[in-house]
């Protein structure tokens, strides 16, 4: 167990290192540095201004040298300043990380709360009308273009119902209801797609475990159908679901960009997008790495949860990392 975890952690650290280097290189390949942009927007800047500012922001050195000094700092916990916000990267990142975390946490919980019963229900009524209906609704949820959905929610819910805000976040001092109110639509938009995929997954896992040997045994022993469903099948079906959720956390992270943009939610997706577009190396890089770290952590957690819940599995290096 300990050996396994150490192994995984070292592996994850190496992946992060490679990701940081690749991102740094890629952002560096994007044409036009921030000074070029400032320059073309302001007719009064001179070449001397540009040179001065380039030196000021450390943009006049080759990219490898800049990466090396960034890495040296990062390894000591100094992630540098965000060029866009003129604040230490951590100060910019933390509130946004928290904002995204709230949004994702609540929408994932909500999606689960709906998806598990729906999936079980659909599986129990396999190939009947209920199953078809649930399937149809789920596929619909997965297939809607996300920003279209968000705009529909605003136009048809936020505009007529003035109690529901069309965007923005509650301020930090306000009460829980206020926070909830602002979260309503973004959470709805985010969870709809997850409900679809979680339910589909749950249904599949249930069907599979309903077909297993021990279920036949349970049936043969004459256990109550509901008992069969909950005691045996559900437990076994929940396992793969945990993996899927843990793995999807990283994807959700960047996927929240659209929701965040339309609902004016200042979170990680938006921040990374702006940092990349605004050529804010430090911020973009740390943002990308945090998102990557979440995915990696998710996959490790999934493995641990798997081992904890299923006595048949012991943790070893499984070669393909979950």
């Amino acid at each position: 167990m300990i050996h396994y975890l150490t192994h995984r952690l070292i592996h994850s650290f190496l992946v992060l290192l490679v990701v940081s280097f690749a991102s740094y290189g890629l952002i560096g390949l994007m044409p036009g540095d921030p000074i070029d942009l400032m320059f073309s927007a302001n007719p009064e800047m001179t070449a001397a201004d540009a040179e001065r500012l380039r030196a000021r922001y450390d943009l006049d050195r080759p990219i490898l040298a800049r990466y090396a000094s960034w890495l040296a700092g990062a390894l000591q916990g100094d992630f540098g300043y965000s060029r866009l916000y003129q604040q230490p990267v951590g100060d910019v990142l933390m509130p946004r990380l928290w904002a995204t975390f709230q949004l994702l946490g609540i929408s994932t919980l909500l999606a689960l709360a709906l998806a598990i019963p729906l999936g079980v229900w659909a599986a129990a009524r396999h190939n009947r009308l209920t199953d078809y209906t649930i399937n149809l609704v789920c596929f619909a949820g997965i297939s809607v273009p996300p920003f279209w959905l968000a705009l529909l929610l605003i136009a048809y819910i936020a505009v007529p119902v003035s109690w529901i805000p069309a965007g923005g976040m509650a301020e930090s001092g306000e009460n829980g209801l206020e926070h909830l109110r602002h979260m309503l639509l973004p959470v709805a938009a985010l969870s709809l797609a997850s409900i679809g995929s979680f339910t589909r997954f749950m249904r599949g896992a249930m069907l599979q475990s309903l077909g297993q040997d021990y279920m036949r045994t349970a049936r043969a022993k004459g256990a109550h159908p509901l008992r069969q469903l909950f005691d045996h099948a559900l437990q076994n079906a929940l396992l793969p679901l945990i993996t899927v959720i843990a793995l999807s956390f990283g994807t959700l992270f960047s996927g929240a960009l659209i929701t965040e943009t339309i609902f004016g939610w200042s979170g990680m997706g938006r921040m990374i997008y702006e940092a990349v577009m605004g050529n804010d190396f430090n911020l973009a890089l740390v943002g990308l790495m945090v998102a990557t770290a979440f995915t990696l952590a998710g996959s490790i957690l999934a493995d641990i949860a798997y081992a904890a819940l299923d006595p048949r599995i012991t943790l070893q290096d499984r070669g393909n990392g979950g």
Binding site: S143, P145, L210, G211, L257
Partner: protein, 300 residues
């Protein structure tokens, strides 16, 4: 289990598939869509429609004779643009999914069959790509200057090939993992072991024994991924990084329509519906194929 008799298996699959009415309907819709996309320009000529001709005297016009679905914000025919848009959206979806499937299959079969250091290396790479936050990465990639990194050939004006390339780059790992896992188990099967004992080359075994048996999974995974890719195209358009004008795509049509939702909600309705129907059809088709092809489902 040895090789199932091809004929009986094929019949069973067809039977299973045909029983799934939604999947059959989806297949039908998709065939129609692909035909529409393929014959696009001829179809337009037949209908006397033009998707590029702007008409400043008929902006956001209502449906009527000459314009079955009305006109857009530049007075162009919406139906014609939907038809032309299906070319871009479907080609992005299909070409990308196919590229990712080929890339993923090769990597997956090699990793699974050869094992050892090659497997470790390829799977680490796969893990790394999966761990990457997808959307930000796509954003960085779409802003890259392809000329600078020697890929000027992909820089056509509409940005379609660029889109295909960058999405393929991040879409292959799903297939690769799936194929690797199946290859690993196939490798132990009698017929593979027997072939190896008879001195068949690895390439021969992969081509004759392994690939035909993982085909089904690849087809399912690829079909299911097409929908996601079409959605991704619309998201990238929303961020201003999709197909570039004047080439229409459903994603850009939808994005452009968002500013007119107050006075002309129809402009957003049509491309939105087109994307929705196509994506849902691909998902149903994939689901139907899974039911029909995946032996696990038949254990019940």
């Amino acid at each position: 289990m040895t090789h199932p008799t091809p004929l009986r298996r094929g019949q069973r699959i067809r039977g299973n598939f045909l029983r799934n009415r939604l999947a059959v309907l989806s297949l039908f819709i998709l065939i129609l869509l692909v035909l529409t996309a393929l014959t696009g320009p001829h179809l337009l000529a037949l209908l006397h429609l033009d998707g590029f001709e702007t008409d400043l005297f008929n902006l956001k016009g209502p449906p009527g004779p000459g314009h079955p679905l009305g006109t857009d914000e530049l007075g162009r025919d919406v139906l014609a643009r939907l038809i032309l848009g299906s070319q871009a959206s479907l080609s992005v979806g299909l070409i990308t999914a196919l590229t990712a499937a080929i890339l993923g299959s090769i990597i997956g079969i090699c990793a699974g069959y050869f094992g050892g250091w090659l497997d470790s290396l390829l799977m680490r790479l796969t893990d790394g790509v999966i761990a990457l936050p997808l959307l930000p990465l796509l954003i960085v990639l779409s802003a890259l200057d392809f000329d600078k990194i020697g890929l000027g050939a992909f820089a056509d004006g509409s940005g379609l090939m660029r889109l295909v390339m960058i999405i393929s780059l991040v879409a292959w790992p799903t297939v690769a993992r799936l194929v690797r896992a199946e290859t690993l188990s196939l490798k132990q099967r009698e017929f593979v072991v027997a072939a190896r004992a008879q001195g068949a080359t690895p390439f021969f075994i992969m081509r004759r024994h392994i690939f035909p048996n993982v085909q089904a999974s690849i087809v399912i995974a690829t079909t299911l991924s097409i929908g996601n890719i079409i959605l991704l195209e619309s998201v990238l358009s929303f961020l201003g990084l999709g197909i570039r004008p004047p080439t229409p795509s459903w994603g850009t049509m939808l994005t452009n329509a968002q500013d007119y939702i107050w006075d002309s909600p129809n402009l957003a309705l049509w491309p939105g519906l087109a994307i929705f129907i196509t994506v849902i059809a691909f998902n149903f088709l994939g689901d139907g194929l899974q039911d029909a092809l995946d032996p696990k489902q038949h254990q019940q």
